[in-house]
Symmetry: none
Subunit: 204 residues, 4 copies
């Protein structure tokens, strides 16, 4: 991450006026909140009301509802990718994959976010390479964990992503208290571990 790169939020094509960018951010935040609470079928009107702007303003920034959903998703995926890169940069490499998965599940449990929208809005969203970048980051963590002997060699990225999506989805449903979350993830993590890592992990 070079210091000269622009703020990651500024992914727009060209500079917006200050007030326009402020509104754009407010709309995105409002949309994230509204869709998190009520799902992707919540009305655009409600997003506008929550953002404190007129409905036309929402459609000026995001010409269709789909575009708004995509923008939210891209933002979330980018944020996750950055968290993931931070995890990779830090030490504790072996358990980094587990930490990241736990973090995502925790977030998903708080709001109907990434996976919730992915599931509800369906395949319609064109997320470009935002997803790809996240996959790559996860792939890095997986390799590192495998190199450290923590995760079995025969585990592939596809399964890890599938499990990630699954447990995040599951976490959306009622009744996932933090303890259940922890216990469920413990099972999945154990399934990923090598015998040796499992022995020491269980020992702890």
């Amino acid at each position: 991450m070079t210091p000269s790169m622009p703020s990651p939020e500024a992914t727009g094509d060209r500079p917006l006026r200050a007030d326009a960018r402020r509104n754009r951010e407010r709309i995105l935040a409002a949309a994230e909140a509204v869709f998190a609470e009520k799902g992707a079928t919540a009305s655009t009107d409600e997003v506008a009301a929550r953002a404190g702007v007129a409905i036309g303003t929402v459609f000026k920034h995001f010409p269709t509802k789909q575009a708004l959903l995509q923008a939210i998703m891209k933002g979330l995926l980018a944020r996750l990718t950055r968290e993931l890169e931070a995890l990779a940069a830090d030490g504790a490499p072996a358990e980094g994959l587990f930490a990241f998965i736990a973090r995502m599940v925790e977030q998903a449990a708080q709001k109907r976010t990434v996976v919730g929208l992915l599931a509800e809005a369906g395949v319609g969203l064109q997320l470009g390479d935002s997803v790809q970048m996240l996959r790559e980051g996860i792939g890095n963590l997986l390799l590192r964990a495998q190199d450290a002997g923590v995760v079995r060699e025969d585990v592939r990225l596809d399964e890890v992503v599938a499990l990630l999506v699954g447990v995040c989805q599951g976490a959306l449903h009622a009744g996932w208290d933090p303890d259940l979350q922890r216990r469920t993830l413990a099972i999945v993590f154990d399934g990923l571990r090598t015998s040796e890592a499992r022995a020491s992990a269980t020992g702890c």
Copy 2:
């Protein structure tokens, strides 16, 4: 089970005329198909068309769309519970839990059914004790597997259900080819297994 007892689907309060019951079944079947294909946002008009009845008939039997969704869910859960009881009655008790989970995932992958509706229709559905009965059945399989030394003793029913919901959800997403399904479940099952069972399973 006497032949005179009503079919388990007929959970209505009082007996219906023969044609009315026939319509009810057709509507349920049509609704299951339509919602499986297009998700819970498909229109009731389409359900009526597929069932070959008028829209008024649908609302006569199920006074709201929610009620229709609930009825589908109850039916599906009841069917699953019966499958599960059949599994429990048969032999192969130790691996019965895994077989059942695999079966559910397979079905979920084929259609947007149980879990899909649960996710889409949201928390609004009042499913009464249909869910409870299914939980109990799964609990039986779990106990049996634990008694046989296949599943770890510290695993609780809650985690199993959570994992079940999660992998079913995940299976709805694109790209879960049968092989990925198998590999993903293998990890989860490994996480559930005791060290001994794991050793022999891996040995196979």
Copy 3:
């Protein structure tokens, strides 16, 4: 026109309930009036209000605004075709073409009808063979007039239709009092006439 043929208005695919057909007619009449007054950009809401039905009813009968416009146009064209056939069936064949043109202009002047909608709604309308049938009827009148020596032999159907459309369009504009109408048509008709017919017509 055989006596056994159904009422010409009943062009629907299958029989509608009495009340539904009544509403359909009311909507068509309202739409004709509203679009005649305000042009094709008048709102569907206004049509519904004028017809005394809810907006959903309009869209139940005509699933898009375009479909409603097309239905109006087809109705008008059919009505004109019938008038034209009546003219052809009656005597006075030589001047039948002129009588028909005059009739259309007169109607167009009263309301923004046929040609007005054709012009405003533009090329988007799929009018099927309604237009073709009208053209054929006009072609018959033209042939008859040419056989009678009233219209020049070198005049083709295309020009006649072009002139018809033009004068109807012109008649939509303000200031076409009946006298101006008559005088304008006199010029066009003279242009169509043979020298002989012209001499006698002028003589009258």
Copy 4:
């Protein structure tokens, strides 16, 4: 015509700054092009984009869309009036009227201009005396043609204008290839001609 007099398009109340007038011209040109292509329902945003100015600038010069349409119309009428005066000033007086009508039809067929806007925008436009001036020019040509014995004495200006509007309207519709245009106008012109002129014209 002294070089210091303002261009005829600059009918504004008071002198504008050079850049302002330049913008005004660009907006008018853009509006003419856009409305010609897409009809009067095209959006003012599109006009601004084509003109390369901001939407606010358009509304600064023309406070409503109606005002913009009126300005376009006035410009077009003025241009036509000038063409017409040029025709009158040149020789070939007898056939000047026909030449002018043919020219207008040709233009109308190329773009949805004068008459198109008149028809679409409806009666709302206040065109002041721009129309009157055009009428007078046409009246001059008519007189001249009548003096030359080419057009019948009993033809009045009203009919000529009515026919002009009509054939221009007609020309907007699909299928008016140049040949059809010529043939249709030939009929109208013959209707206007005296017997003598007709004989010689037909002879050619």
